[in-house]
């Protein structure tokens, strides 16, 4: 009997301990905030959520920047909550944080439709006041780009690394088969036919990734048409997928291949071309055979020498009632956007909305990429920056169905339009 009472007591104590631990864990940040305001000597912990994680090429620069910042600011500790963008992991994390009132102090996160979701939380700093207080810092940002990333007239997301998408091609393989550079659609198609006939993957892509679809839509309908979500005028661009698939332009397992494996096909010299983003350029830049050009104009298209490019992410800061923590977060954002730190990021790749310290190590492919951007007639942001996630996910899945001839482009566009209208 005594044994039974004792085991019951033990069980109750255990449950109490588990709950106490849970409550303590949940209340941790508040205690921390109070503690920080009580004693200025106490270490400030900043939670930082960015996309610099996993296989992201800027991970080394990010890790080094955090280390340097902590060394220069002894009282501030950075808790790195960076999450890869793959499979929408970062979006899910930040949205869940926003919904539960648990946003990180500093975020490097998407803008566009995502800014709208973050501003709903009313916890995001609008940068105008800080720019007014520190005009020298404000001057480091490109004012034209600042205007483009504003949401409802306010600047919530500080633009930083810009991206571009381009057609990467392997000059060595093109020379070997005496092919012209794929700057025109005819040259592009001739290269596809030649490579397919010679047992070389003509175009390394996964049919589950968005890049080629973005290029084809822009080339077909131009920047204005691209802004009309899932417009029937996009249909000919999507139909090209079927045409290319019939020409055996894609890897044989393009329906199940992921983007990283598609990239490795191109990087390993097994494929002649690949359409992808500037984030892949850093890894490719070690091989001088790799060149970059805008996607060629498709027959009857309106988007000649136009590229998908922009500043899809930026620095957000949470409104902190604890002044010390607010100042620490601001100091961190200023450190990250300083020419020195931005210069280290720029050495890896991308275009920048802030002044950057010149790096002598910039590779030729990265220089060519930036040249392609500067010579482009116009730019657009990717389609997913202004449509609902659900509609975009289904649209993207639809590409595989079109390629396999299982659905028509019109059917895919119609389904995506319905989903987009349901969740604007």
């Amino acid at each position: 009997m005594r044994k039974k009472v004792a085991s019951k007591t033990t069980a109750l104590v255990l449950i109490f301990v588990v709950f106490a631990a849970l409550m303590a864990a949940c209340g941790g940040s508040k205690q921390e905030e109070n503690g920080a305001s009580e004693s200025k000597t106490k270490e400030i912990t900043l939670r930082v959520a960015t996309s610099f994680a996993g296989s992201d090429p800027w991970v080394p620069a990010w890790t080094e920047a955090i280390k340097q910042f902590q060394e220069e600011n002894k009282g501030i500790k950075i808790t790195d909550e960076s999450t890869p963008v793959n499979q929408e992991a970062l979006r899910t994390k930040v949205k869940a944080d926003a919904a539960t009132g648990n946003l990180a102090d500093v975020m490097f996160y998407f803008n566009g439709s995502e800014t709208a979701i973050l501003t709903e939380s009313k916890e995001i700093v609008s940068w105008e006041d800080e720019f007014a207080k520190d005009p020298d810092w404000a001057k480091q940002f490109n004012s034209g780009i600042i205007e483009k990333v504003k949401y409802e007239g306010k600047l919530y997301s500080l633009p930083y690394i810009g991206f571009y998408e381009g057609l990467f091609w392997n000059k060595e393989l093109f020379d070997q088969y005496q092919l012209e550079a794929p700057t025109t659609y005819d040259a592009f198609i001739k290269a596809i036919d030649t490579f397919a006939a010679n047992n070389i993957v003509p175009f390394a892509t996964s049919l589950t990734t968005p890049y080629l679809q973005e290029a084809l839509v822009l080339s077909q309908v131009g920047p204005e048409g691209q802004q009309k979500a899932y417009d029937p005028s996009w249909a000919p661009a999507l139909a090209i997928f079927k045409e290319l698939n019939d020409k055996k332009a894609f890897p044989k397992d393009a329906l199940t291949l992921d983007d990283e494996k598609a990239q490795s096909l191109f990087a390993g010299g097994k494929a002649g071309m690949m359409f992808n983003g500037s984030w892949t350029a850093a890894g490719l830049s070690t091989n001088p055979a790799f060149q970059i050009t805008p996607f060629p104009l498709v027959p009857g298209g309106k988007g000649e020498n136009m590229i998908v490019s922009g500043f899809g992410s930026g620095w957000y800061m949470k409104k902190n009632t604890d002044q010390a923590k607010y100042d620490a977060a601001l100091a961190f954002v200023k450190f990250m956007t300083s020419p020195e730190t931005a210069g280290k990021f720029a050495a890896i790749g991308g275009t920048y909305a802030v002044d950057t310290q010149q790096s002598s190590s910039t590779a030729q492919l990265l220089i060519d990429g930036n040249k392609m951007v500067s010579e482009a007639k116009d730019f657009v942001m990717p389609i997913d920056s202004y449509v609902s996630r659900e509609s975009y996910t289904e649209f993207l899945k639809g590409i595989a169905y079109v390629s396999a001839g299982r659905k028509t482009a019109e059917e895919i566009l119609d389904e995506a339009t319905k989903l987009n209208n349901r969740n604007k």
Binding site: Q87, A98, T256
Partner: protein
């Protein structure tokens, strides 16, 4: 009870509520839409593919996982040497994470760098696309079955060890040995264990996610989609948590129905030795 309520009942009730709402982007705004999501669920062709695949998985789990575990246990139980070795070998996959197994098999099936195509090349045969619309669901079944067969093997082995030795001795005196011993003595006396394993295998099959998501992500063309992978895609890629909750409720109802039916089929009077 408090723990049960906090971590099971409350989230379950919330999920039921969410399944009747339109809830996008994990925002704080949820709109009650009645049976709207359920109507969409019935008319969603991918749900029917996922349902068919889930049944394939349940059948595979019952016959090949639990059945395979039983056969291996019967074979191992009858050998005199190497019992411990086989027990370790069969149980080993269970300690490897599903993610690692998924990654391993995705490399095995890969067209360019995969093991299977390397073997094909070595044999002078032409390379194959292994993960096709027709084959994908069966190929992802292999790692799932391989991973869990050892689990049921150990349960059956434990069940067998509880059967009193004198029953076998009496049978031996009557001249019953080998396969007849297994059919007429071991299997009937293991009926309770078999019933538990069938329930576990069914419930386990309904929960499968990691291996399929890593190997095929439900593709190609949704052909290997399970209710769990489709729910994940809708919740996290599509950011439509309302509809994803509806899929969760459908999975739960399906699980309850299959388990009850299965229990009714195999449950008879308890066996006592």
């Amino acid at each position: 009870m408090l723990l049960l309520f906090t971590f099971l009942l409350y989230p379950l009730v919330q999920s039921v509520y969410y399944s009747f709402t339109e809830w996008y982007n994990f925002s704080n705004t949820k709109t009650f839409i009645g049976f709207g999501n359920y109507n969409q669920l019935i008319h969603d062709p991918v749900v029917w593919i996922a349902l068919k695949n889930t049944f394939i998985l349940v059948i595979g789990a019952v016959f090949l996982q639990a059945g395979g575990g039983l056969v291996l246990a019967l074979l191992t139980d009858s050998i005199k040497r190497g019992f411990k070795f086989f027990r370790t070998v069969f149980f080993f996959p269970i300690v490897i994470s599903g993610t690692a197994i998924g990654l391993m098999f995705s490399l095995i099936y890969n067209y360019d760098y995969g093991l299977l195509n390397a073997i094909m090349r070595g044999l002078g045969l032409s390379e194959q696309i292994w993960l096709t619309e027709k084959s994908a669901i069966y190929l992802v079944l292999i790692p799932i079955l391989w991973q869990y067969v050892g689990f049921y093997f150990v349960i059956f082995l434990t069940g067998m060890s509880k059967i009193p030795e004198d029953i076998y001795e009496s049978a031996m005196l009557d001249g019953i040995t080998g396969i007849r011993k297994s059919i007429y003595i071991t299997l009937p006396l293991l009926r309770d264990v078999i019933a538990s394993c069938l329930t576990l295998a069914t419930a386990g099959a309904l929960k499968v996610f990691d291996v399929v998501y890593i190997v095929t992500k439900g593709g190609p063309l949704n052909s290997s989609e399970l209710l769990s992978t489709y729910m994940y895609t809708k919740a996290f890629n599509g950011q439509n948590a309302g509809y994803a909750s509806t899929i969760v409720i459908a999975m739960m109802i399906l699980g309850i129905v299959i388990t009850v039916v299965l229990n009714k089929l195999v449950k008879k009077e308890a066996v006592s030795y």
